[in-house]
């Protein structure tokens, strides 16, 4: 670690989409040179357009480009990069990549490979958490290597259980089982998924909580190993085990529990010899008891909500730490102010089981104005590739209190115009006005219990307007003329042709 901590100005961003754009923005703010990499599918992606420099790293398939360590190192060599920011996903939690960067003389902007390695193995991470006294959900002491062993452990722990890939994350490679009936199928499936997604088919079993909340702690460990707790994020709104809305502070965590959870997170990070930004995830039950889940050894998708309330730039702090510099702020000046909410904009169809969608962005108008931040990886005309994660953007709002933050989010979502690709923007409009969300009393079962596709149907006023517009469109087409667009030196105005009758 100490060896790698040194000054650098040329940073290769080993990622794509909104997070690559996010990192590039901070590099620009710091006056550093931002170096993008792109697969063949991404030559015209926004991160390539916004970076100072850009280099190809291979075919569209991630395994041959964004996940290919050799190609990334070659791009770093050609571009004379001095450091690498991994973003999230892809190789961000790959200890081998972090080590390979360091071997190649590149500063890896993230934790030391040793910390990634220990946290990347769920079982080792649980063991470490246990040692420092962080509470754990009951589970198998090690990976279950056979169906028989899985059954034995499941019965010992008690159903419902969760089957999880040891190397997993982000909702991939996990299945809930309420009884032993589907165990064989699930065991094979999770192993298969784990093998495909992470190249590691180790699976373990743990107790599944019926109404858990998912709350995580943002930590920042400076060069001397001192760990700061920068507040929690409530991430319980999930579909298919993936987060869709996050907020800070959690609307339902007592102050005392928040402090205990933060302290536990810091202890885990310290024990792992952690440096840089990281997130310790917890499950919280109905009685506000929390259990260590895992540590994500990278920047989290939802880090902007923490930035909105603390005023920090977490990527800038990651870079300072990687350069061996002290933190850029006094913790007293980063006390959270107000509340922030994030809605993840996915290319997916909430009416059809949130299945990923693709298409070309035909029309785009992001929300603007007070209290709204948008981190986006798309632009008008951009075609959403089929090869990668369907996240298009994150809309983030801030308010002096939660009520204002949610109201602003509702307004921001109403303003958003994104046509040509099916997205979950309409779903988010429903979500942020749901009484359970407004009351702040929800758990990870919320969507399963409350969401039905028909909640997204329009009201009769909107239907009436839709009918008017459709008639107008058809009228115009039947006349074989476009609705005339008159320019009278000012705005566009319809001249009003008399219809022949």
């Amino acid at each position: 670690m100490a060896a790698s901590a040194r000054s650098f100005r040329r940073v290769l961003v080993a990622n794509r989409g909104e997070i690559a754009v996010r990192v590039i923005r901070t590099l620009r703010d710091l006056g550093m040179t931002s170096i993008a990499v792109y697969s063949e599918a991404d030559r015209a992606a926004l991160h390539v357009l916004l970076a100072d420099e850009a280099y190809p790293v291979g075919p569209a398939a991630a395994s041959q480009s964004y996940l290919d360590v050799e190609r990334l190192l070659e791009a770093a060599r050609v571009s004379r990069a001095e450091a690498v920011h991994p973003g999230y996903g892809f190789l961000s939690e790959n200890a081998g990549f972090a080590a390979a960067c360091e071997s190649a003389g590149l500063v890896f902007i993230g934790p030391p490979a040793s910390a990634i390695r220990v946290m990347g193995n769920k079982l080792a991470a649980r063991e470490l958490a246990r040692q420092v006294g962080a509470p754990l959900v009951p589970g198998s002491p090690g990976p279950v290597t056979s169906l028989d062993q899985a059954r034995t452990e499941a019965e010992r722990i008690g159903f419902p259980i969760l089957l999880k890939a040891a190397a997993g994350g982000g909702g991939k490679g996990m299945r809930v089982l309420r009884d032993a009936a589907g165990l064989q199928a699930a065991f094979d499936l999770v192993r298969g998924e784990a093998k495909a997604a992470f190249g590691d088919d180790q699976v373990y079993v743990e107790r599944y909580l019926e109404h858990p909340r998912h709350i995580e702690a943002q930590v920042l460990a400076d060069t001397s190993g001192h760990v700061l707790f920068l507040g929690e994020r409530e991430c319980s709104v999930q579909r298919r085990h993936q987060k869709v809305l996050e907020e800070t502070p959690s609307p339902a965590l007592p102050a005392k529990v928040r402090a205990e959870l933060g302290a536990a997170a810091c202890k885990v990070a310290q024990a792992a010899g952690y440096r840089n930004a990281g997130t310790v995830e917890f499950i919280v039950d109905e009685k506000d008891r929390f259990y260590f889940l895992e540590m994500n050894t990278r920047l989290q998708v939802e880090h902007p909500v923490t930035e909105m309330v603390t005023g920090l730039d977490l990527v800038a702090e990651q870079i300072r730490i990687a350069r061996g510099e002290p933190l850029g702020f006094d913790p007293q000046d980063a006390m959270p102010r107000g509340a922030a909410v994030e809605c993840r904009v996915y290319a997916e169809d909430p009416r059809r089981g949130f299945l990923p969608a693709t298409g070309t962005v035909a029309r785009l108008r992001w929300p603007l104005g007070p209290g709204v931040r948008v981190d986006s990886g798309i632009y008008r005309g951009y075609t959403v590739p089929v090869h990668y994660d369907p996240i298009l953007a994150k809309i983030v709002s801030w308010g002096r209190d939660r009520e204002q933050a949610l109201a602003r989010m509702g307004r921001a979502l109403d303003e958003t115009i994104l046509h040509g690709v099916t997205t979950n923007v309409g779903f988010h409009r429903w979500l942020v006005r749901h009484p359970v969300i407004l009351a702040g009393r929800y758990d990870t079962r919320f969507l399963e219990e409350q969401f039905r596709p028909d909640v997204l149907e329009g009201d009769s006023d909107a239907e009436r307007a839709a009918l008017v517009a459709a008639s107008l469109h058809e009228w115009q087409k039947s006349r074989s003329v476009a609705l005339p667009r008159r320019r009278d030196g000012a705005a566009w105005k319809w001249a009003g042709i008399e219809e022949p009758r």
Partner: protein, 174 residues
């Protein structure tokens, strides 16, 4: 103008008979006794419109798909099909017997002919593109109203035409 609309999909599918008039920047729509008056304007950004219905402001985008229109407003998307009953009749007539008389394609507004897509002798059916006209900086495709055979093309590319001017004469289908 009478139109026939299908709104919604599945259980929410409804059919409506509409009477639509467009006059002086306003659209009047009547359906089943309900009357709607709307101030309408085409926005310069894609196939989108601003509607003011009883003062209420709607920004509406329309995408044409194979199975009709997708109408988006306020984040909601509605499936809609709007058809002219007359066109439907014409289409049926076409399959039964040729139109008995020819017709003329008239210029709907003053403008410039950009391209002619037919030559005398070409058979056309309702909807066949005949001519591209530019008016108000927009290119518009004029298509056949009914089946027939092109008899005469009266205009050529780059020619200015007045509203109502005969562009193409079409004889009865053979």
């Amino acid at each position: 103008m009478k139109l026939w609309a299908i709104l919604g999909e599945g259980e929410r599918r409804r059919e409506l008979d509409l009477e639509v008039q467009v006059e002086g920047g306003r659209l009047f729509l009547e359906s089943g006794g309900e009357k709607i008056a709307a101030d309408v304007v085409a926005l310069p950004d894609g196939e989108s419109y601003s509607l003011l219905v009883d003062g209420r402001s709607y920004e509406v985008a329309i995408e044409e798909g194979a199975d009709g229109l997708r109408v988006t407003l306020g984040g909601k998307t509605f499936a809609a099909q709007v058809r002219s009953p007359l066109e439907k009749v014409l289409r049926e007539v076409r399959h039964v017997a040729p139109a008995e008389a020819g017709w003329k394609l008239l210029a709907p507004m003053p403008g410039l002919v950009v391209a002619v897509k037919v030559v005398p002798g070409d058979p056309v059916t309702a909807g066949t593109p005949i001519l591209i006209m530019e008016a108000m900086k927009m290119q518009n495709e004029l298509s056949a109203e009914a089946a027939g055979v092109v008899e005469k093309v009266h205009v050529g590319p780059k020619q200015s035409v007045e509203a109502g001017q005969t562009l193409v004469t079409v004889g009865p289908a053979k």
